[in-house]
């Protein structure tokens, strides 16, 4: 009897874990992966999904089993067993989640590191210059409320993802994505209710983001009025754009195409409409786009 219970439990656990792993490896709930950051993200997602499935199904099964097996039949007045606890058992189910959590934590740290999340932010900040706000002023805000003070601390980078280098090194697939290529700087200005992209190297200003395939890009972001957030679901990347606190976001696109850029921080009545596109070009097409759009004076 004891042995049979043990075997049943072992089999059930194996089946459960197997199901979880299977489900986790099969799910595709995410949009297409279009940056170097996306594949590690997706594997983290699959791991978490597996663990989650195992946990949820396990609890669902135990709960459903208990409700059926131990239900009180009509007219029955008997009591349950007077068991008040079981220390070894409780230690086990404290230890197992702790170990799983530890594993998840270490694993996601690794992913984060591979995304370049642990790279120093100042690295990217070195060439950063205060942006020129004089040329554009489409904001509807009360100008007395938020004025020039925003640029006061422009040198300092407050947060974000500093570099994609670490990860680019590891992919090793395309030679053009090697660490030697310096990141392409793009200045991003967010305002109610638009993103403006400025390419300091060529003095291009655009309402759409254009990036070359496989080359690291560094977005240097500032907000004019309130907090916004730059989000491209296909890149699995998001960063708040904060007035007075410049942030950076580094990425390398890996799949040509057009993807949405979405504002993800409530910024006013037209927040839902604050979106544009990012176009990932083949390197040659990108060069063509640059030539086409470079202002005559600098060209």
């Amino acid at each position: 009897m004891q042995i049979r219970t043990a075997i049943t439990a072992a089999l059930a656990t194996t089946a459960l874990v197997g199901t979880g792993l299977l489900v986790g490896s099969q799910v595709s709930l995410l949009p297409v992966a279009a940056s170097t950051n996306a594949p590690p993200y997706d594997s983290l997602f699959r791991v978490l999904f597996s663990i989650g499935t195992i946990l949820f199904l396990g609890i669902l099964i135990v709960l459903a089993y208990s409700l059926i097996r131990f239900r009180r039949r009509p007219g029955e007045l008997a009591e349950g067993l007077p068991i008040e606890g079981n220390l070894p058992l409780e230690i086990v189910w404290t230890a197992i989640p702790a170990v799983v959590i530890l594993f998840v934590g270490i694993y996601s740290y690794d992913i984060y590191d591979r995304m370049g999340g642990m790279a120093s932010l100042d690295h990217g900040a070195m060439q950063h210059q205060a942006m020129d706000h004089g040329s554009m002023n489409p904001t509807q805000m009360d100008p007395t409320q938020l004025a020039d003070g925003i640029e006061a601390s422009a040198e300092r980078i407050w947060g974000g993802i500093g570099s994609t280098q670490a990860y680019v090194d590891q992919t090793g697939d395309g030679s053009e994505a090697s660490a030697a290529v310096p990141p392409l700087p793009v200045e991003v200005t967010a305002m109610q209710f638009a993103f403006i992209f400025h390419y300091p190297d060529n003095d291009i200003t655009s309402g759409e983001l254009h990036v070359p395939l496989g080359q690291p890009v560094q977005l240097r972001m500032q907000a004019r009025d309130v907090i916004h957030a730059f989000w491209v679901p296909e890149f699995r990347l998001k960063q708040d754009v904060i007035p007075g606190q410049p942030t950076v976001l580094s990425l390398t696109a890996t799949r040509a195409g057009t993807y949405p850029v979405i504002c993800a921080e409530l910024c006013g009545p037209y927040h839902g409409g604050m979106r544009t596109s990012v176009v990932v070009h083949e390197p040659d097409d990108y060069l063509a786009w640059v030539t086409q759009n470079t202002p005559a004076t600098t060209a």
């Binding site: 989650g52 208990s66 009180r72 007045l77 349950g80 068991i83 409320q145 974000g160 942030t247």
Partner: protein, 541 residues
């Protein structure tokens, strides 16, 4: 500080009958029910606001209400549901009703303060929902009121919002002081802490969180109001201020706030399960420790709401780890509840159905919570519908389900009558289906690119949004059987007797409804509130 005056408790000085529910009553049971009914009223208000949101989102364009109104509605919805429904009911209503029974007292430690705390709520709530009339516009910056947005939206509405939240926070602090004093100081002689029903521990932990974190919210909102009214620049970057400091202080309160909303629910479930499973609560001691562990960890994880807010890498890392570890004490509680059910004699009545629904929903929300705690994961889904799904699984699927379970469980105590079981099961079924239909698809929406707090969205997401709105409609319908149940029960409900569930916790050892000072004679000393199963099943007659 309000001073307890024993003579004020004399029944003769209090109005009688239904009128006392509209009076400045000092009876903890009256106050508890005042909290409950008042909270339920605001639940209906908040639900109507949710209806507006889901109607707007039936189509991908902003066509139902104006964009400003939409933001007002979502701000009011969040504020009403949190500060006027969940917190007052799961703390104030059940806390006030049950805690004095559980510690063997005749009332709370400070009855007058208690009444004051309750009577701050209706004016604050009415102030909030009438801000349109008072100020011409309601707050539009979400329940989080992040500056600088909250400094640039219509000022009067935002100030009314701040005022109202300050009042509600004050009420919550007064309540917490009272709970702590009652549990620690008013225990009947001979009753040890480790013999208290679990809900007392839950309320003690919750009240600690309230006392330690709510004042910080009050402080930061006062600073915010200075920025709006006096044009200081604390959170105004144009004046050299720092918007992220606001977020830190806000979440220093508002993460604990999520535990303020759910710990009491944990406590209530711990009371309900043993009664209907006829088994002792499994692992009492570890349950107590895990509550205190959650309280401690809950205070040091706030920045997981700010992973994309320009937080430095070390901070992202620390808060990932601290947040993940909350899963351990939380997990203990769930395993202990399952172990409580295992081997019991389970009556699957409405109270039990809602409790089991809570377990499932909360586990789901907890799992998505763990995923959100991982920085790299959260960077993608932060501020999307995935987060909306997560916290509704926790707050609605968790706490609101428990409130309903508690209603079915304690209604006979409140009124002496049993709620109708058939209507109760229908209520559960509709709520469970509607809830999952409404919030499950939102995870997919978030993962695929729908941000939260938008009135318009990518047409590719239309079908799932419509599904979600149908779920919301079912949830709205699901309140009808509940309301009908209350009416039917009032008209010709089955008399419950004093203790219809044969429960052992002290509130059941007096008449239903209980007399004014709770016991006809001495307060009983209950040292084994979960002493079920002591009569072996086999020796049954």
């Amino acid at each position: 500080m309000t001073v307890a005056d024993p003579s004020a408790l004399q029944p003769g000085l209090q109005p009688r009958g239904w009128l006392r529910y509209f009076s400045f009553s000092l009876d903890h049971k009256v106050i508890g029910l005042q909290y409950l009914v008042c909270g339920f009223f605001f639940y209906l208000v908040g639900g109507a606001l949710a209806g507006v949101i889901r109607t707007e989102l039936v189509s991908p364009i902003a066509d139902f209400v104006s964009r400003d109104t939409y933001n007002e509605v979502l701000t009011l919805h969040g504020t009403v549901m949190i500060f006027l429904w969940i917190v007052p009911v799961v703390n104030g209503a059940f806390g006030n009703y049950l805690i004095p029974f559980y510690v063997g007292a005749r009332d709370m430690a400070f009855p007058r303060l208690n009444a004051v705390a309750f009577w701050m709520i209706p004016p604050a709530g009415l102030l909030l929902i009438s801000s349109y009339l008072l100020a011409g516009a309601a707050a539009q910056s979400g329940w989080t009121a992040y500056p600088p947005l909250s400094l640039t939206t219509p000022a009067a509405g935002q100030v009314v919002w701040i005022l109202s939240v300050l009042l509600l926070g004050g009420s919550s602090i007064f309540g917490a002081v009272n709970f702590i004093a009652t549990v620690l100081k008013l225990r009947r002689p001979g009753l040890k802490m480790m013999q208290l029903p679990m809900y007392c521990w839950a309320m003690l932990g919750t009240s600690l969180l309230v006392v330690l974190s709510t004042p910080v919210l009050a402080g930061v909102l006062i600073l915010l109001s200075f920025d709006i009214i006096a044009h200081t620049g604390f959170f105004n970057p144009a004046l050299g201020g720092n918007v992220v400091v606001y977020q830190h202080l806000f979440w220093f309160y508002s993460h604990p706030a999520v535990y303020i909303m759910v710990l009491p629910a944990f406590g209530l479930v711990s009371e309900i399960l043993p009664v209907h499973a006829r088994k002792p609560l499994f692992g009492y001691t570890t349950m107590v420790y895990s509550i205190m562990g959650i309280v401690f960890l809950g205070l040091i994880v706030w920045a997981h709401h700010m992973f994309t807010s320009g937080t430095p890498p070390w901070m992202r890392l620390f808060f990932t780890i601290a947040t993940s570890f909350i899963a351990v004490p939380t997990g203990i509680k769930f395993f202990n509840w399952l172990a409580t059910l295992w081997g019991g004699k389970i009556a699957l009545n409405s109270a039990m159905l809602f409790s089991c629904g809570f377990i499932l929903n909360f586990v789901f929300g907890g799992i998505t919570g763990i995923t959100l705690a991982q920085v790299p994961f959260d960077i993608h889904v932060h501020d999307t519908y995935y987060v909306v799904g997560h916290f509704h699984y926790i707050v609605y699927g968790g706490t609101v389900f428990v409130i309903f379970a508690a209603l079915y469980h304690w209604y006979p105590k409140f009124t002496g009558r049993l709620l109708n079981e058939d209507l109760g099961r229908l209520h559960f079924l509709l709520t469970f289906i509607g809830f999952n239909l409404c919030f499950l698809p939102q995870h997919w929406l978030g993962l695929n690119g729908m941000p939260r707090r938008v009135a318009e969205y990518d047409p590719a997401f239309t079908t799932l949004n419509q599904l979600s709105s149908v779920g919301a409609l079912i949830m709205a319908i699901s309140t009808l059987p509940l309301l009908l149940n209350v009416v039917v029960t009032a008209l010709r409900g089955q008399s419950a007797g004093d203790n219809p569930w044969n429960a052992l916790t002290p509130e059941w050892l007096t008449s239903s409804p209980p007399p004014v000072e709770n016991w006809h004679g001495e307060a009983p000393l209950v040292t084994e509130p979960y002493g079920y199963g002591h009569t072996p099943a086999e020796s049954g007659r």
